[in-house]
């Protein structure tokens, strides 16, 4: 627990001292409103936060609190209407769609709640998908994917299609795909939502291990207390605003 607090203070101090480039992610008064005809739904109402490299943090909150919107904006899948969004030293608000796509391909990894994989590709082909798009030669691709598969317990499943894998195995393949490009940041939108608790814990073990061994920043959105418990920092959203941002285990609040 104290360790968690210490890490959190260290993170905040780095943020206070450093400039934009020291943060993996920085948002300044980010706002996002969805419009459906005449109806406006504010999803984010001026969110400001900093995420240091190597963090393992959860974004929690009830449904409609803005978790997915926040993740989408950080991941360049959506644009904020207002404010600044900095990822890896780049202002996403100023990037074109093409540049955002390149950013997602080269610097970010994604793990979604479900249907992460292309059903017609094998586990190996799904995992190396982003490497292929980057033009990495086949030997290097295979080597990297196989190493990761070994690391996260997927060895022997390379030629299976998603339909032949369990839910937990599919999510691990998604994690492998997210990791294989050695991204700075992995965004996971409720990755354990469709898994039983044992499988969810197992997946968390994998991601924590990768975070420790590779220093990759992991940002989750979650309802799952197990995920929140395992994270070293959690940001609680309510009604599109940050309700709390702490590195303290005792700050786990029910969604």
């Amino acid at each position: 627990m104290e360790e968690k607090v210490a890490i959190g203070r260290h993170t905040a101090e780095r943020g206070l001292e450093g400039d934009v480039a020291t943060w993996a992610v920085e948002l300044k008064e980010a706002r996002k409103t969805y419009r459906t005809g005449p109806i406006e739904i504010p999803a984010l109402r001026g969110v400001s936060l900093q995420i240091a490299p190597g963090e393992f943090l959860a974004i929690a909150g009830p449904s409609g609190s803005g978790k997915t919107t926040l993740l989408n904006i950080i991941g360049g899948l959506d644009r904020a209407d207002d404010g600044e969004v900095w990822v890896e030293g780049k202002n996403l608000q100023l990037l074109s769609s093409g540049d955002l796509a390149r950013m997602r391909l080269e610097r970010l990894g994604f793990v979604f709640q479900a249907y992460n994989l292309l059903p017609v590709l094998t586990a190996m082909e799904n995992a190396e998908f982003t490497l292929l798009l980057q033009g990495v030669p086949v030997e290097r691709r295979r080597e990297r994917v196989q190493k990761l598969f070994l690391e996260i317990g997927l060895a022997g499943l390379e030629n299976r299609r998603p339909g032949e894998l369990s839910g937990g195995q599919r999510q691990r393949v998604a994690v492998a795909r997210a990791m294989v490009t050695e991204p700075a940041l992995i965004l996971a939108d409720e990755p354990t939502a469709n898994l039983d608790s044992a499988t969810a814990l197992s997946l968390l073990d994998v991601m924590e291990q990768l975070n420790r061994d590779h220093g990759t920043t992991f940002v989750f959105s979650t309802h799952d207390p197990q995920v929140m418990e395992r994270s070293r920092r959690w940001i609680r959203l309510r009604d599109g605003q940050i309700a709390s941002d702490a590195a303290h285990a005792s700050h786990i609040l029910p969604p």
Partner: protein, 429 residues
Amino acid sequence: MSAVLLLVKIGWRNLWRNPRGTLLTALALGLGLALLLISLGLLDGLHEKMVGDGVRFGTGHVVLQAKGYQDTGSQDLLLPARVVSMTEEFLHTEPMKHVVRGMSPRLLASGLLSSAANAAGVGIIGVLPQEERAVSLIPLRIVEGTNLSDDKRPGVVIGAELARKLEVKVGAKVVLMSQTVQQPGTEATVAGEGGMQSTLLRVSGIFRTGVQAIDAHIIHLPLPVAQALLGVPDRVTQVAILLEREGDSPMVARDLRKQLAGEPVEVLPWRESMPRLVQIFRLDQAFNYIMNGVVLAMVGLGILNTILMRVLERRYEFGLCKALGLRPLQLAGMIIGESLALTTISLALGLVLGSSAHYYISTFGLDLHWLFKSGAPSAFVFDPIIYSRLSLSRIATSVSIVFLTATVISFYPALKAARTELPDALKVF
């Protein structure tokens, strides 16, 4: 494997996620191509038949006649014997003799044919039986009796409809009356020149062509008998020339025209001497192309429907691809690739079906007699058994058009896929 190959692999495998659906779609589209090929094969076969039969029931591939005859049809416009001799001599030289199958001098006139029971207006064609047999189909369509013989006996060959109208059979006597021809500069050797002449004939044969206008109207009699009847002992109306290949018509017409330069004649290829046939040809072709356009539109809509449905069903998948960094152009390319793969399978099926049907119809023919129970209308000059004729260029053109249509049509679903919007597409409902 490059990104392009990856996308090709994804596109190909996506086709087989639902093999039955893909095969059914391919079969439906393939049937479209097969219909197209069958239609074109029948069209080309029909036109080949129309031309082939038309020229052999009509004036041949090339016709030589007196200048002005094509416009007026006046039976006073005749060719002198020397022109016929020059023509015959020319057509026996190199290279003409390899190109020409036969030539037949004819004397044409109108008259009245009477039997004991009835009378009918007729078109008289005076012919040399052996020459006429090499050019015309009428001598080959004798159903009762025999064709004219070369011994100049005053026989006559009439159509089955005419025989029925006159209530005559083979061996019956008929009287043929016609107006003699006024020839400037000739001696008035025939009694009643410029007036009516008649001659008694015996029906030697009855023919049936299936063409109403011919079977009810045309009679053949020996050329010397016709010449005597009309008072033109050494003249003919036209020389009908039949060639080995229809394509040589313009060349032969041109060369014969040159040979007879200075003579008051007109030398016409069949497209000019039988404009009605050409009109039918063109109308038929236009209608066929419209029908083919409809088939093509249906094929195109089929492809569009299938691919568009697949795109709409896979919105999440495309969102995922875009989220991972796939560019819109790459996504569009994947969809177009899928569409082309489906089209290729369809084309292969269509070629198999279409070729099989073409083989059957080209070998056994399509009998359309049931359509013309009372004989072919006068507008048609053909025997209603059609054989399919499909050239390689026709097949290549049809396949190319279908392929191009499918490619163009696939742009819309490809654009739709490329425009998949993030993050909406990633919402799991």
